[in-house]
Amino acid sequence: MRVGVFICHCGSNIAGTIDVAKVAAEMRKVPGVAFATNYMYTCSEPGQDEIKEAIKREKLNRIVVAACSPRMHELTFRRTIEKAGLNRYFLEMANIREHISWIGLDKEANTNKAIESVKMAVAKAMNNKPLYSQSFKVNKRVLVIGGGVAGMQAALDCADGGLEVILVEKSPSVGGMMARLDKTFPTIDCSICILGPKMVDVAQHDKIKLYAYSEVDDIKGYVGNYQIKIKKKATYVDWVKCTGCGACMEKCPAKNSYDHFNFGVAPTRAINIPFPQAIPKKAKIDPNYCRQFVKGKCGVCAKICPTGAINYEMQDEIITEDVGAIIVASGYGLVDMDKFPEYGAGRYPDVITGIQYERLLNASGPTEGHILRPSDKTEPKTVVFVSCAGSRDKSCGIPYCSNFCCMYIAKQAILTKDHIPDSQSYVFYMDIRSPGKGYDEFTRRAQEDYGAKYVRGRVSRIYPKGKKMVVVGADTLLGTQVEVEADLVVLATAVTAAPGAPQLAEKLHISYDTFGFYVEGHPKLRPVETNTAGVYLAGCAQGPKDIPASVGQGSAAASKVQALFSKDMLESDPAVAKVNENTCVGCLKCIMTCPFGAVKEKELRGGRIVANVIETVCAGCGVCTATCPCGAIQLSHFTDNQLLAEVNTICQK
């Protein structure tokens, strides 16, 4: 065995708090180590060349790189040693950066810890066996979850590239939040005018199969071969028959149904088409409000519908689709008003949220684009915008910035002036966050050309006084308390993860952060990938972002899928479980525990029963290995021998 050890400086990242030369020197004393050196930037091209040359020169057959996290560069170095003719699994990495040099300043302790960590890696590497991938066929269909602007962009880009797309949207129509917006910053173009055509393309593209009012129920499989169960929720209207004429909606007597699309700005009917541009434009019954469901009698819509589309007996339906990759674009939610007792917590009708205000501004909204305050339907002359309502607020459990509200507040202030020329807007803010192209100019314009008064300070309280809402805040630049007697108050409520985001992540086996946003592969270098092969992210599901960024990510995720699907065959990860048929006693405990159903019974010629792993199904978790009483089933690359070699290196009594 001839092990080569390469200790990386990572500039001063590692060398600053670890004596790398000493680590290399110590390694030269370890039995089996034929060569050890330290190098400035091992992952750089010359750094990799150095490894390749050393392999040839020193006839090395196992390589240990002590550098950053294997989550960062394991693949890089596997490729390097493969180019030099070694099996890629002959590589081991010791993480001396994230786990040592960055978390302690004591150089002596760090150096000592690094020496031991590298020794562990050497011990494991000496036990590494060559592993060979198998190739398998890719199913070149893609599932997109979420039909907001990000998901639609991803779906269209994939479909335009010739891929078959399954688009699953939870609500009755695609469009997401953008479909609710009036105009969009920083150009103030009409949201639905630019989104509408995309929605129609989605509906008409022959490569896109749209399941609206549906959710992903179950996901099985692995990159290249997923089996998806989709639950089509009962709409109580046969969408094949429904023409979207709207006759039912006009006659439905349940007039006080909650309008999810308009965020409750005005009520809707129990049977409704969410908005005029909805795709698909079909009616749906809300059983929480429909009298047929609540009281057991009505049936008006069934009588009125010219096509006989109403079906009160409809049940949820499960559909199966097979795909090879998944793009998650499930968007975001908004924090509830009841988080703000000091602002009235939803008790005062004239304190509304930003998204509700978008609906008031919108020509196809409940007020037909007239800004009327909810309490008495009069035109407000003084409008106060409160930024960071819940955002950047630890006491609300939301320490992060919601990213786009500064910009939409400026937009809404401008639009308010456009709608009501003799109105005055006030904006309470802590910081104006407008770093995009043309963005800062936009927020300046709101102040310079549209006269919005920006007040630097938080709002402490809002209370009613007569017909006015008194907004009590601070002007920290003046160092005073300030009050505005407003007609309408708009809260820029914090962006949260989409409802149900964690549950969806669990189905997908991807990680989510404390707040429910999905975690990308690397915050800078893999922004639309996840750590689960074949699953990609786009839009606000990953974190709050505006439309341009969401669209950008939709396209990026689509191009990642295109790249994945550019090959017909994928290589499997050979780090899977293997059964030693000689030692297996056929107890079948492994079959019971394998979470993926990857182990099956096999009858040997003599009639003896043993376990057998289906390589393409095995995900490589090693649960079976820890279960087997005989050590007969071993997870390659993480065998008992390999892990115990590491344990023994540090625990030698």
Binding site: E342, K394, M430, G457, R458, S460, G473, A474, T476, G479
Partner: protein, 188 residues
């Protein structure tokens, strides 16, 4: 205000002292102004409470300890309840008063005097003797007739006792004070 030379006048020990005694981390404050917005006394403060927090972040010990604001704060808890960074601001104000007292830098003599008179009454009688406290305060503060017009109204309602209600254990209460003073002396 004069130019604040940040390299020279930042009193790091003071920041440390306040953090330790109040258990609050002043760096958490991002100067949103919510405390000032809600404080019922902002109009009367020489520095609004968010600026006290800012002065604290910059270690401006003298300015803070000689401010009126720390004495005009009524511990109404509005700031603490609403601070988005979960800072117990009222506690910081309380701590600043304690330090100002300790260092003999009290700007609002009347308020301190009132508190002292209150505590003296307590030490003497075990309970608060309202009339005695008021009279002692008026005498010492020189506001001889403060609230004098209210006297008859209260008297008429039979709410005033002209003699203190001395409790049996009043020496025990006094002992709490003496023990405290002894301890304080010991620790300098």
């Amino acid at each position: 205000m004069d130019v604040i030379n940040l390299t020279k006048s930042t009193d790091w020990n003071f920041i440390e002292e306040v953090s330790k005694e109040s258990g609050q981390n002043p760096s958490l404050c991002y100067q949103c102004g919510n405390c000032t917005a809600g404080c019922p006394y902002t109009n009367y403060f020489d520095f609004p409470v968010s600026q006290i927090m800012r002065l604290l972040q910059s270690g401006q010990k003298d300015t803070i300890l000689s401010s009126k604001a720390i004495w005009l704060c009524a511990t109404c808890e509005t700031c603490t309840t609403r601070c988005p960074c979960e800072i117990d601001v009222a506690n910081v104000m309380d701590t600043l008063r304690i330090i100002a007292r300790r260092e003999n830098k009290v700007s609002e003599k009347d308020i301190k005097l009132f508190y002292d008179t209150f505590l003296a009454s307590m030490k003497q009688h075990g309970r608060l003797f309202e009339v005695g406290t008021l009279m002692a305060y008026n005498l010492k503060s020189g506001h001889f007739f403060a609230d004098a017009e209210l006297g008859p109204k209260v008297m008429e309602k039979g709410k005033i006792h002209f003699f203190p209600n001395n409790i049996k254990g009043r020496d025990k209460v006094a002992k709490i004070f003496t023990r405290f003073q002894e301890k304080a002396k010991k620790h300098g």
